[in-house]
């Protein structure tokens, strides 16, 4: 097994578990008795402990063990979940995360814990331990030193040893096992037996071993350790170890709590919780096999159940087996669900999508070739291939789609922590969490979103007193909403806070020299100034935001995803920020148009309609840059003007077409020479050289091998609204 990949899987699994734990804690904050959430927290700690143990990450195991034990007490009602305790549990979650980060950063995997982390962990554990007992029945005592996972056994282990005749000859000295055993605990009672039928001199061979022992044993060791004593006697001794009742109960608890994905079969399950030893399992399996064969002749269906054999052999008590059977059955049901999900390396998926992109391009090339060759009866085949390719493309892209909700729910914590720090009361409402978009887009949008939400908490929502004076509810609301809109995803962040003061923004921008005092700006333009570099309206920077480096970075990040951000705000009422992003970064449905000597692709989702430019019945041209479409004034751009590539061979009186595109609330027209139809467009990024080119989002290779530019409608709209048409930023 590749240890590195296993480690990576562990780190990812922990991240997921910690997220679950956080969600559960947030729920518990509202409803401290929610059993499902209590279980979630317990299970997260339990599983991290278990997996951490496999890798030998002792600090992780020790830390999570204590938290797990505490959660167990909470679950069983011995302890009440108080607000401070939840707070501490939040910190425990974060500390676990820090521990995992430490492991992730440490290539060798065995570096000692940094003193800071150690101290932080110890402090947290101490706080857990010193939690004042909230109810008289509470049992706050936690044994931090206990290295074993089993609780102290208050009653006795029953061990029976029956040595075989050849034990002495194989060099065994049964006494040495008992001596070793006595080092692990207390031999409370020993019965030594010499079970020989006859003591006749002929039958008694002093060099054969006839001894057997029954031992009542008191120890805190777990079953594995105890069985380990007799490890080398396996061949020459019948060993039975029966757990004490306390451990018995513990096994049943463990069985209930065993994560269902870790269960393979009954035997492994029992071994994994330490109820039986691997040797006992092997022995019972052998018997199962043998009896199965025996019965095959007479009664073929009946293979004895493993549990029965284990109980009969005295390896285990029947209660434990019953619980194991139950856990095994629920696990089967659960696993069927889990099996529907397969984890795939994101890189492989990326490669697949690249290949699909190439396939799309190739199939377009085939179409062109067939057309040129004029083979009519090939058309049907090509159509079929095209259809399949587009299906493959859609499905491949679908693979990368994830619901955004999981990523959005992390903001509950952000808002919770930030509002506590600032003494504000804020509700975060998340809707549209099921909206899907490309995972790579999700990852890249989280940072800008975090910033915007912190801004809303910090600058938007006012302190409770201020809100009360303003006649608002003391608890502010931040509404996070996501939905699909014509091939894009829209994410809205809306708060009912103070809103933006356009006058102040303007004053600040003038003071910073971003605009000249004589410039006339619409309200919208003024508000957009906060996206300019180096502008922050809050006089005092807080630890959360307000250093004036945020909003321009947010805008740039969003634009890098071919998205846009819009802002609307009313002073005293609130602010609404709308982010519009393409669903995917790889392939889009495009609309191919020709203008001048070149061809261009317009994202199909943004095409509203196409009309003939000189159909005067519907169109009236107003001057150079505006047109009247059925009474609506529309700015337009002639692509040949924009890109200075008019085809001089083209007859001047040839008719042009107007493609009406929309983006967000905006609509505009693009005047083109020819409409060439829909095209599956694989987006290829432009090189560094063309980075500053405005209005172009990328390029694509056409079936003919030609290159077409993909137009960025949002930027074109911006160009269309300003009178000076320039293609390169100054």
């Amino acid at each position: 097994m590749n240890l590195d990949s296993a480690r990576q899987a562990f780190i990812e699994e922990v991240a997921e578990l910690l997220q679950t734990m956080e969600d559960a804690l947030l729920t518990l904050e509202q409803n401290p008795a929610d059993p499902e959430s209590l279980n979630d927290v317990f299970r997260a700690m339990h599983t991290i402990k278990g997996t951490g143990g496999v890798f030998g990450y002792t600090p992780v195991v020790d830390f999570t063990h204590t938290v797990e034990t505490l959660m167990d007490q909470v679950r069983s009602g011995q302890m009440t979940l108080t607000k401070p305790l939840i707070e501490t549990l939040f910190e425990c979650r974060d500390h676990t995360s820090a521990l995992i980060d430490f492991i992730a950063a440490d290539a060798t995997g065995d570096a000692p814990l940094s003193p800071d982390l150690q101290r932080a962990g110890d402090a947290l554990l101490a706080r857990l331990g010193h939690e004042p007992p909230p109810t008289p029945t509470a049992v706050p005592v936690l044994n931090f030193d206990a290295p074993t996972y089993l609780p102290e056994a208050n009653d006795l282990w029953m061990i029976s040893l029956e040595f075989k005749a050849d034990a002495f000859r194989h060099g065994m000295d049964p006494l040495s096992f008992l001596r070793y055993l006595s080092s692990l605990g207390d031999l409370v009672h020993v019965v030594t037996l010499l079970p020989i039928a006859s003591i006749d001199s002929e039958h008694f061979d002093p060099e054969s071993c006839y001894l057997s022992f029954g031992i009542a044993f008191r120890s805190d060791a777990d079953k594995r350790t105890i069985a380990g004593v007799f490890e080398f006697a396996d061949e020459d001794c019948e060993i039975r170890i029966l757990e004490p009742d306390s451990a018995h109960n513990r096994y049943i608890d463990l069985l209930e709590a065993t994560p269902h994905d870790q269960i393979n079969c009954m035997g492994d399950l029992l071994v994994s919780i330490g109820a039986i030893t691997p040797f006992e399992l092997a022995r019972a399996l052998k018997i199962q096999e043998e009896t199965g064969q025996l019965l095959d002749g007479s009664e073929p269906a009946a293979k004895r159940r493993l549990g029965e054999i284990l109980v009969e052999q005295g390896s285990i008590k029947s209660g434990v087996v019953e619980q194991a059977v139950k856990t095994q059955e629920t696990a089967r049901g659960k696993r069927q669900e889990d099996n529907r999900i397969i984890r795939v390396d994101a890189q492989r998926l990326g490669h697949l999508i690249d290949l699909v992109g190439e396939l799309v391009t190739s199939s377009a090339a085939i179409r062109v070739m067939v057309k040129r060759a004029g083979i009519d009866n090939m058309n049907e085949v090509v159509d079929g291939v095209d259809y399949l390719v587009s299906e493959i493309r859609d499905n491949a892209l679908q693979l990368r789609m994830v619901a955004i909700g999981e990523s959005l729910s992390r903001f509950r914590r952000v808002v919770r922590d930030a509002s506590q720090e600032l003494g504000k009361l804020i509700d975060l409402v998340i809707t549209g969490g099921e909206t899907e978009l490309d995972k790579t887009v999700v990852e890249k949008i989280i940072d800008p979103l975090t910033h915007l939400i912190r801004n809303a908490v910090d600058h938007g929502i006012e302190e409770p007193m201020v809100r009360q004076k303003a006649g608002k509810l003391t608890t502010g609301t931040i509404h996070l909403n996501a939905y699909h809109d014509s091939g894009h995803i829209v994410i809205e962040i809306e708060d009912d806070g103070a809103g933006l003061d356009a006058a102040r923004i303007r004053a600040k921008a003038e003071a910073k020299g971003l605009i000249k005092p004589e410039e006339v700006l619409t309200r919208e333009e003024t508000l957009r100034l906060i996206f300019a570099p180096g502008l922050s309206t809050k006089e005092q920077a807080t630890s959360l935001s307000g250093r004036g480096v945020g909003m321009d970075v947010v805008r740039r990040n969003i634009e890098a995803l071919r998205g846009t951000v819009e802002l609307d705000s009313t002073l005293g009422v609130g602010t609404k920020i709308t982010i519009i992003l393409p669903l995917t970064l790889a392939i889009i449905e495009g609309f191919l148009v020709g203008a001048g000597r070149d061809q261009y692709v317009i994202p199909l989702s943004q095409v509203a309609e196409c009309v003939e430019m000189n159909a005067t019945a519907t169109l009236k041209q107003h001057g150079e840059h505006y047109i009247n479409l059925r009474g609506e004034v529309l700015p337009f751009i002639r692509l040949t003007d924009l890109f200075h590539n008019a085809d001089w061979h083209r007859a001047t009186n040839q008719r042009e077409s107007l493609v009406v595109v929309r983006f967000g609330h905006h609509k505009m027209g693009l005047v083109v020479d020819t409409l060439l139809g829909e095209l599956q467009t694989v987006i290829k990024p432009l090189g560094k050289l063309f980075e500053r080119l405005r209005g172009v989002a990328g390029a694509t290779i056409l079936g003919t091998g030609d290159i077409a530019l993909i137009l960025d409608v949002a930027e074109l709209a911006a160009i269309g609204q300003t009178p000076h048409q320039v293609t390169v930023k100054h």
Binding site: A167, F168, M172, D173, P174, L175, L178, R179, S182, D186, L187, V188, H189, V190, T192, L194, I196, I199, S201, F204, P206, E207, C209, Y210, L211, F213
Partner: protein
């Protein structure tokens, strides 16, 4: 019965001497009403030696003879204590009082 009837065993009571000691014990116990062993000089005892003690006790019991350990060496004491066999092997009471254990 007098002290002379006790069997004094010396040296090792281990798997290496088991056959010889068994013969010794067999010869001694046959036909006796009292089986008294003196293990003061036993330097070492292992499971085979212990098994011999248990065996001879049973032989004695079958022929309704009394069985007693008159005195034992520290090596034997340690094993008997571990297995809590002091009473089972009828160790001399004055000896056993020093070997307290919980049971």
């Amino acid at each position: 019965m007098s002290a002379e009837s006790a069997l004094v065993l010396e040296g090792e009571m281990t798997i290496y001497t088991a056959a010889a000691i068994r013969t010794q014990l067999q010869d001694y116990v046959t036909g006796r009403q009292q089986c008294i062993l003196d293990l003061t000089a036993v330097s070492e005892i292992d499971s085979a030696g212990l098994q011999l003690l248990l065996w001879v006790r049973r032989v004695a019991a079958e022929q309704r003879a009394d069985f007693q350990l008159r005195s034992i060496s520290p090596a034997v004491a340690q094993v008997l204590e571990l297995l809590q066999l002091e009473q089972g092997l009828n160790l001399n009471a004055s000896y056993a009082t020093g070997q307290q254990h919980e049971s």
